[in-house]
């Protein structure tokens, strides 16, 4: 099954996320990741969803989402030329013995140390999902204490835009 990235514009109203989450669970669709936030228009929120689905299921997901009154627009941007980013905070064990190794990894991935503790550091990293996976794998031997990821956000390059059909 293939991963698809959907950009979904919804009305910025209470309960919208519950409607979407409910739709997914009751129809048995799988969400890999989901992020939501306000857009340039305060009336509109944008959800970036990564879903794993075959073509038929993806078509159903799209059509069922469209039936929700608060959903304004759905774009499958999987095949677009786009910028995709995810942010992760990683708290990893770090003491005298391995600190320099960790700093090296942080350097290679152009990540940042945003907090330093006695036995651990917090690393902030941004990039593609793939890049973050790779960094997490490299840090794993040191011992990851805590990991939080935002899920992917994405935007099409150039003039093309995902715009709501408002006004």
């Amino acid at each position: 099954m293939k991963q698809h990235t959907l950009a979904v514009l919804v009305k910025n109203r209470p309960g919208v996320l519950a409607r979407i989450a409910g739709l997914y669970s009751r129809r048995g669709f799988n969400i890999e990741s989901l992020t939501v936030g306000r857009t340039e228009d305060p009336r509109v929120s944008r959800i970036t969803m990564v879903v794993e689905a075959d073509e038929m299921t993806l078509e159903q997901i799209t059509k069922q989402l469209h039936k929700l009154i608060d959903v304004l627009k759905i774009s499958d941007i999987t095949h677009e030329d786009m910028v995709e980013r995810e942010l992760a905070l990683i708290k990893v064990n770090a003491d005298k013995n391995n600190r320099s190794d960790i700093l090296q990894i942080v350097g290679i991935f152009r990540a940042q140390i945003v907090d330093v503790g006695e036995k651990s550091v917090i690393i902030e990293v941004t990039g593609s999902t793939h890049k973050i996976d790779a960094m997490v794998n490299l840090l794993a031997p040191a011992g990851i204490r805590e990991l939080v990821r935002t899920g992917k956000v994405a935007m099409i390059r150039g003039n093309k835009a995902v715009k709501p059909p408002l006004d």
């Binding site: 009305k11 309960g15 739709l23 059509k63 039936k67 959903v71 304004l72 059909p165």
Partner: protein, 560 residues
């Protein structure tokens, strides 16, 4: 002028042309009921909120207008849930109004608080919680618009108590625009002409018509298509009445308890023209064996129905009536002698049959036939769910739309009686029969009080076999006759129950009494009638395609 929320609500309902509300009062809707008391809108007080939801549903199905029900917060609202889900599954335009605790009490587990918008998320087309009285009028306008346009469905409006009391300027919006909600009515012309070409080429076409035909008022266009292009028509349970059951091109119902000819036609067809139907499992059996040699045209107003259960070769998104109007211009008559002869042969060889009313025990099918004969096919028939529903679908020949009201999708026992009340309120000119079972009727039997109070002459034909008949049938056929908890012998005396409520109670125990008892019931016009038909206890509904089976592998009967 400034009006209170409750006044705005009732004034808005009046603007929407609402003539009747089915409801039940309570603490959170006191303000609304106070305004309703002096409104010209009729209020029918049911004896249970579930009855109110089903009655509003029956009203909507009988008329095509949205039905309105009203309940208080908490238990009042949750009692509507089954009725809302029933309407949702069958695409019935319904407005459910619920009281709610005051906005400052929300989310604090207050007395009679239930998160009804949360609860009804998956069973409404949309729902609203109105937190500001300034949004109330617009919300009502939007609710009616959403409920009645596109693929219809229930919309719930939750009204906190303080919102019904606060005042604001009342202006009812003239029109409504909802970004992100644009139903498609006109079919794509390229798809329609492609469909016409496929029809022209087809040797063995069949039309599979569903409830969408009735919802879009497309029965005349459907008839024109069938006659003009010479295509036999089978209807789903929801589609019954969308094409005349007595027409020479009618094959009757298809699916699990469909006719042999309808199921054979589907399985032998090379083109299935699907109109406003959704390939439900009760229709298709195993989907990969449904119409194995057929190309599929699928006309539906809901894009999500296309490709959901079965892949369509020629999908057409649009309103059935509008699409058929255009399609009918592009089709022409073809004789297809061989196909039509084959259909006639199947009709002759495999006519619906229950062996006739020979014995001295009443056959339930005979009761339905007698009701059909006596009402000349002109009654509104409402059913409960189970064997009663299937016998009604099989043996009453429906010729007009909105004459058969039944819970098809959800299969709600207890639907029939309150829905019949709603239908009778909507159509006082019509004879309304509820064909019931002894199990189902006990699920909303309290509505006798409603029908008596409103002087509604609803006729309830209880096909009393003292079993949960359909469950018993499955246990007989698939569970080695282990009749687990389906015995209903300890039922009340339905005649006495009816009389206790002030209704008329009648009983028939012998075949020769059926006709006279029905005639007696027909004479009553100021109160409901219960007729207790003591029928053959282990009668089965045939033909039957076992669940997830293949349509032409039907059980036609069991060896005695």
């Amino acid at each position: 002028m400034e009006l209170s929320g409750a006044e705005i609500l009732i004034a808005s309902l009046e603007k929407e042309g609402v003539e009747v509300i089915f409801g039940y009062p309570g603490g959170a809707v006191l303000g609304i009921y106070d305004v309703l008391f002096s409104s010209k809108i009729r209020h029918v007080l049911t004896r249970h909120e579930q009855g109110a939801a089903h009655a509003a549903d029956g009203y909507a199905r009988a008329t095509g207008k949205p039905g309105v029900c009203l309940a208080t917060s908490g238990p009042g609202a949750t009692n509507l849930v089954t009725g809302i889900a029933t309407a949702y599954m069958d695409s019935v335009p319904l407005i459910a109004l619920t009281g709610q605790v005051g906005t400052s009490f929300l989310g604090r587990d207050s007395f009679q608080e239930a998160d009804i918008t949360g609860i009804t998320l998956p069973i409404t087309k949309h729902n609203f919680l109105v937190k500001d009285v300034k949004n109330l009028a617009r919300t009502i306008k939007e609710a009616f618009y959403i409920a009645t346009t596109g693929r219809p469905g229930p919309v719930l409006i939750d009204l906190p108590k303080d919102v019904t009391g606060l005042k604001t300027e009342f202006r009812y919006p003239q029109k409504v625009e909802i970004a992100g909600y644009k139903p498609i009515y006109a079919g794509h012309i390229k798809q329609i002409t492609e469909a016409a070409e496929a029809i022209e080429k087809a040797q063995r076409p069949v039309i599979y018509a569903g409830g969408g035909v009735i919802l879009s008022d497309a029965h005349e266009e459907l008839r024109e298509l069938a006659e003009k292009a010479n295509i036999p028509v089978t209807c789903t349970l929801m589609g019954l009445g969308g094409f005349p059951g007595t027409h020479s091109l009618s094959l009757g119902m298809l699916g699990m308890h469909g006719t042999v000819v309808a199921n054979y036609a589907i399985q032998s067809s090379d083109l299935i023209v699907t109109i406003g139907a959704r390939f439900d499992d009760r229709v298709t059996g195993r989907t990969d064996t449904f119409g194995p040699n057929a190309k599929i045209i699928h006309i539906d107003i809901d894009p999500a129905e296309i490709g959901k259960n079965v892949c369509a070769d020629i999908p057409i998104v649009g309103d059935a009536k509008q699409v058929l109007k255009v399609l009918n211009h592009h089709v022409k008559f073809k004789e297809r002698r061989g196909w039509i002869d084959k259909i006639e042969e199947w009709k002759r060889d495999f006519a619906l049959s229950y062996g006739g009313q020979g014995s001295d025990v009443i056959k339930p099918q005979y009761v339905v036939e007698q009701i059909h004969e006596l009402t000349k096919g002109d009654a509104i028939i409402v059913t409960e769910v189970g064997q009663n529903q299937m016998w009604a679908a099989q043996y009453y020949k429906f010729n007009t739309p909105r004459s058969f009201l039944s819970s098809g999708g959800l299969g709600t026992m207890g639907y029939g009686f309150p829905a019949a009340i709603g239908a009778q309120v909507a159509r006082p000119d019509k004879v309304v029969f509820n064909i019931a079972g002894d199990g189902s009727i006990q699920m909303n039997i309290q509505e006798l009080a409603t029908a008596v109070a409103e002087k509604l002459p609803v006729k309830v034909a209880i096909l009393n076999n003292q079993y949960l008949g359909m469950v018993r049938q499955w246990q007989e056929l698939f569970y080695e006759r282990r009749y687990s908890y389906v015995n209903m012998q300890s039922a009340p005396d339905f005649v006495k129950v009816a009389e206790a409520y002030g209704a008329v109670g009648l009983r028939a125990t012998k075949p020769e009494e059926v006709r006279s008892v029905l005639e007696e019931a027909m004479k009553v016009n100021d109160r409901p009638v219960f007729i207790d038909f003591r029928v053959s206890r282990e009668e089965n509904v045939f033909p039957m395609v076992p669940a997830n089976g293949v349509l032409d592998k039907m059980i036609l009967g069991v060896e005695e």
